[in-house]
Symmetry: C2
Subunit: 198 residues, 2 copies
Amino acid sequence: LPKIVDHDMRRRELSQAAVRLIARDGLDAATTRALASESGWTTGVLKHYFVGKDDLLRHALLELEAVNRERLAVAEGEEATGYDALRAAIVAILRDEPAHAKVWIAFLSRAATDPAIGREMRRGSRAWQRRWAELVRRGQADRSIRSDVDADEVAIELWALLSGLRIAALFNPSLTRRAGLGAITLLERIRSVDAMAP
Amino acid sequence: LPKIVDHDMRRRELSQAAVRLIARDGLDAATTRALASESGWTTGVLKHYFVGKDDLLRHALLELEAVNRERLAVAEGEEATGYDALRAAIVAILRDEPAHAKVWIAFLSRAATDPAIGREMRRGSRAWQRRWAELVRRGQADRSIRSDVDADEVAIELWALLSGLRIAALFNPSLTRRAGLGAITLLERIRSVDAMAP
């Protein structure tokens, strides 16, 4: 039988290897050569997937985003209401590995001096805020979230709070247990009064 | 008359020059030589203030912290209640220059690979959480903040939210106007019901 290669799947596996590499050794160390060593593929094979180091970094960043987007999609599929889906997605994202938070911070820092990474970070932050706002609107439509909150404002606050909580957890591990707290009190604030009835 | 030099004052001026340098050129560029060029002092004079590059970076980080600590002290001195002081301090900190947020993110990233910076970041984040908690307790003592909120939990949420909002403002400048929002809704949540009466 001919061997069928799922190129998208392999690119994601390689992107995941790039994320591990960056978490361990930092962005500067993430070269095609280092990725070859990490992934077990030759630099010749890697060239089919990434056009140089910048493209490799971009795909590592897209991979971080994809992991959380999948968590959100799972929550949306499994939970009955917008409120429950929002809560499940937040809990899943806050349980993320600390290594991912480190990689994300490295990209935040890089964005200040690398315009291509800066563009990706802006696009990513806007895409997330749109997704959170959609989920809040779904909750407003099914009456699990208060109709008098502004979905876009909640989305911005949620994005900021999740970002800050992941940073706080890195520097203050004893707070990790409490890390969901701010997000949960935010949730309580937007929860519909009807939904709180038994 | 003999010339009196206020060494602490000069060290702060030099630390401020280091912050400007880092904001413009990044952490790697912040050498004693570059600081000499930025500040107009010789490297010989700078050696009296900083023991090498690591010490220079540490003082730049302490300077960022000092600026916000002074804002908090001003708010505490000027405002009549703990709630008003908390609100004034938050507003002042959120109006901070975007350049400071960039420098802070550079240090966040550096903390992953530089143990000395990591220790300073942990110490700094804990010191801030203690200061916010003290201010919340002051508000609870003067009855401007609800007695049934946990001061330490509010402090953690506030630290995370301010961190995230400063990041959000960097990547989404159109949101800057709304950037105080999350902090303000958090404030509304902890405000004493008594204090809301006219």
